[in-house]
Subunit: 218 residues, 2 copies
């Protein structure tokens, strides 16, 4: 089993490596977030132990980036209890488990083995079309990895189009699902918001099918 440890305190990192190696793991250490991300991307590890506080790229950013890239390698986050960050944050950003320093090596080992046993669970999917990525869990949208801010209506429309990517959706259908059911809204509003999305996300994200509706290519 190959493990990646991303940790900048070298003493701690080496202690971890010594212990885990003795227990039969192959361990690689990265000293900062950026190199940790690169190593993790290679996909050669069965799990990643990840410190939250890191130079370069924080542990949160690292795991979020991995998940955005559809990389579901098991990640255990390690953090000092400093009140700033808490367990929920780590899990929200896509970590699988979370351990607060100080912790005993035995506990770490037990949780790690549990993590590796766990079946690769169905991940909260991100919706994607071309270089546009929408993460419903985080309500976040990026285009070519650049974050984009959308108003609630724009976001709702985009999510609906993404969830029905590949087929044509009519304007009435969109109004029924994205706008409040009872809303008495001019279908032109849909055209207007498609226009907004195109401006923010790219001219040819949404295809117009004249006389029928819109289609977002899968």
């Amino acid at each position: 089993m190959r493990l990646l440890v991303v940790e900048d305190e070298t003493r701690f990192a080496h202690a971890l490596r010594r212990g885990l190696t003795a227990d039969g793991f192959t361990v690689e250490v990265a000293g900062d977030g950026t190199s940790g991300l690169e190593l993790a991307r290679d996909g050669e590890f069965d799990a990643v132990l990840l410190d939250v506080m890191l130079p370069g790229l924080s542990g949160y950013d690292l795991v979020r980036t991995l998940r955005a890239e559809q990389n579901w390698v098991p990640v255990m986050m390690l953090s000092a209890k400093d009140g700033e960050h808490d367990e929920a944050d780590g899990l929200d950003y896509g970590a699988d488990d979370y351990l607060t320093k100080p912790f005993s090596y035995v506990v770490l080992l037990a949780r790690l083995r549990a993590l590796l046993r766990r079946p690769p669970l169905a991940r909260p999917t991100v919706l994607r079309a071309g270089d546009v990525v929408l993460d419903p869990a985080e309500r976040r949208v990026t285009v070519a990895d650049e974050p984009v801010t959308l108003t609630p209506r724009e976001y709702g429309l985009l999510e609906y189009l993404l969830r029905h990517a590949g087929r044509v959706v009519t304007k009435t259908e969109v109004l029924d699902h994205v706008w409040d059911m009872a809303a008495d809204v001019n279908p032109n509003a849909v055209e207007v918001y498609v226009g907004y999305l195109r401006r923010k996300l790219g001219r040819d994200l949404v295809e117009t099918v004249r006389g029928a509706g819109y289609r977002l290519e899968r």
Copy 2:
């Protein structure tokens, strides 16, 4: 089991509701096509009983719209035998069963139960003729795997021809089904649009049967 009855004759609708309720179903009634569609979309029904002749939106249009939206709720169509429409039409447009008025309540109940027992089948709803493929769910047409863009009228005509592939369809028949019912259109318009289809999809897709109409080889 929740049923949706879409029927504009209130006497008939209420008789149906009374009977079905007595037999243990929960019944909701919609009086026109548009509201029927909205209710059916919510996906809270186990089956839909659908009259063909409806104000607002015909039963055919309703079931076609549902299917285009990937909604596979079991649909049983009910229609008066008036010669205008026939069973094949209803089934072509995606209904699961078809009952001609007048029918006995016992028969309805038996067919309905059969419908509900039937496993929710995956629909292979692409229409095909030669190397032309039309996917109603995605509203997409390809010829030899190359996507082709069709105007609404062209698309409607092609869909109709494909759904009646193998037999000759007359121009009046096409006008009645593809053009708006009330439309007062010169039959030459059909010739014009067949011409458009031939240009876009291949010279010999549609066979002309002089004096009778057109046939699309299955």
